[in-house]
């Protein structure tokens, strides 16, 4: 599980706004927590939403406790997408844009957006994963999409301007 799911946990933490330099330690935290709760896992059920819930909690603590500078540094690190873009592989540039745009979405809405749009998890499942009503999932998803689209638009406009 660790071998295959390491990539998923890694990606999820990044998508939830954890700085690249801290991902390894936080992924370690996630797997320790998962390990401690493994006996409660029902193997008949999908494991990724279950893992995501751990990632969300760890990332939430991290975002609350991280100094503002860390978050700003993360943003600065991603903003490379607009500088020297010609030298970057196109898909890598797109990825940076996505992560940067995700930073414009509130963490709770961001979790819903990531689970649905990137991991392909159904809204009903997300509701159970995050323990919120499905109507809340819908509304968070709707707002998150608007925020994400608006941020992408702004970033692309600023890039063109520069």
């Amino acid at each position: 599980m660790f071998e295959l799911e390491l990539a998923y946990v890694w990606r999820s933490l990044r998508r939830l706004g954890v700085a690249e330099r801290d991902v390894e330690d936080l992924a370690h935290e996630v797997f320790l927590a998962v390990h401690g709760a493994l006996h409660q896992y029902d193997p008949a059920r999908p494991i990724r939403p279950w893992l995501f819930a751990f990632c969300f909690r760890v990332a939430s603590h991290y975002r609350r406790k991280a100094r503002r500078e860390v978050i700003d540094e993360t943003t600065a690190e991603l903003e490379d997408f607009s500088e020297g873009a010609d030298a970057l592989v196109d898909r890598e540039r797109q990825r940076r844009l996505v992560l940067l745009a995700l930073d414009g979405v509130d963490l709770e809405r961001r979790a819903v957006f990531v689970l649905h749009e990137l991991d392909g998890v159904a809204c009903e499942q997300i509701a159970r994963t995050l323990e919120i009503p499905v109507g809340t999932v819908y509304s968070r998803l709707r707002v998150a999409r608007e925020e994400f689209a608006a941020k992408v638009k702004r970033l692309q406009a600023s890039r063109r301007a520069s």
Binding site: E3, E117, E131
Partner: protein
């Protein structure tokens, strides 16, 4: 309240780059696996995971004795948990299943987030070899017939890290394709896996994905037959219960 409209095509395309992202850098992956390895071996089998994985724990201890950190997860244990992982990911496509234990994170306090926390002392880093996978005798994947002998639960020992990585990448490709509802690409990746690694470390995982892919492709009879064969070949698999799940729209 109804589910919002799908994301616009342009934004959806933009997200594709992030969906396709593979793994963290190899050095970080190896370092983290090394940190986790010693933790996992002694008591990895929780009661809820079941006795079916017990055999895997044994082989895990044996592997640990070799000192190979990256391979320290017992092959049997890893394989069974990986099956859960893959099928879980695919199961998430339709959201058909409800995770009974999803409240776990609430019940299990997350450890304080301190980036310096270390429960397990870092072990020596073992970075998988960059050498290409060794040639494996090819065997065409028979779809739908399953040659039972090709699905022997006993895995060949000494599978190289490069082979395992190649296997994993193929299965991740199939998983990603299934998330995209591209059953043709998923089946192609799984056929490739079966051809290159007929008795590979992740053969069990491949069979689980194959059932999913066949169902997604509308080949219900073939999927049912495959699922039946799987249950016979892997009676202790953690994914027995998920093979009958029908895909649903997300």
């Amino acid at each position: 309240m109804t589910e919002p409209e799908r994301l616009s095509g342009e934004l959806d395309e933009l997200l594709q780059a992030e969906r396709d992202l593979e793994a963290p850098p190899p050095d970080k992956r190896a370092r983290l696996l090394a940190r986790l390895g010693p933790l996992v071996i002694p008591g990895a089998i929780g009661a809820g995971v079941g006795a079916s994985a017990a055999a895997g724990a044994g082989s895990g201890a044996e592997s640990a004795a070799t000192g190979k950190a990256a391979g320290a997860l017992g092959a049997g244990l890893k394989a069974k948990l990986v099956v859960a992982t893959i099928a879980g990911a695919v199961g998430a496509i339709g959201g058909a299943a409800t995770h009974a234990a999803l409240t776990t994170p609430e019940k299990t306090p997350a450890p304080a987030v301190t980036t310096s926390a270390r429960v397990v002392p870092p072990a020596p880093v073992t970075i998988p070899s960059a050498a290409p996978p060794a040639e494996v005798p090819s065997a065409e994947l028979a779809l739908p017939p399953v040659p039972p002998s090709a699905l022997a639960p006993n895995r060949p020992s000494g599978t190289s890290a490069a082979n395992l990585r190649a296997e994993r990448l193929l299965l991740e490709r199939a998983t990603t394709a299934l998330v995209r509802r591209d059953s043709a690409s998923a089946l192609a990746a799984l056929r490739e896996h079966a051809r290159k690694f007929p008795r590979g470390e992740l053969a069990e995982e491949r069979e689980v994905l194959l059932v999913r892919a066949l169902r997604a492709a509308g080949q219900s009879d073939a999927a049912d037959q495959r699922a039946k064969d799987f249950k016979r070949q892997f009676p202790s698999s953690l994914q027995q219960g998920t093979l009958d799940e029908k895909p649903s729209s997300r």
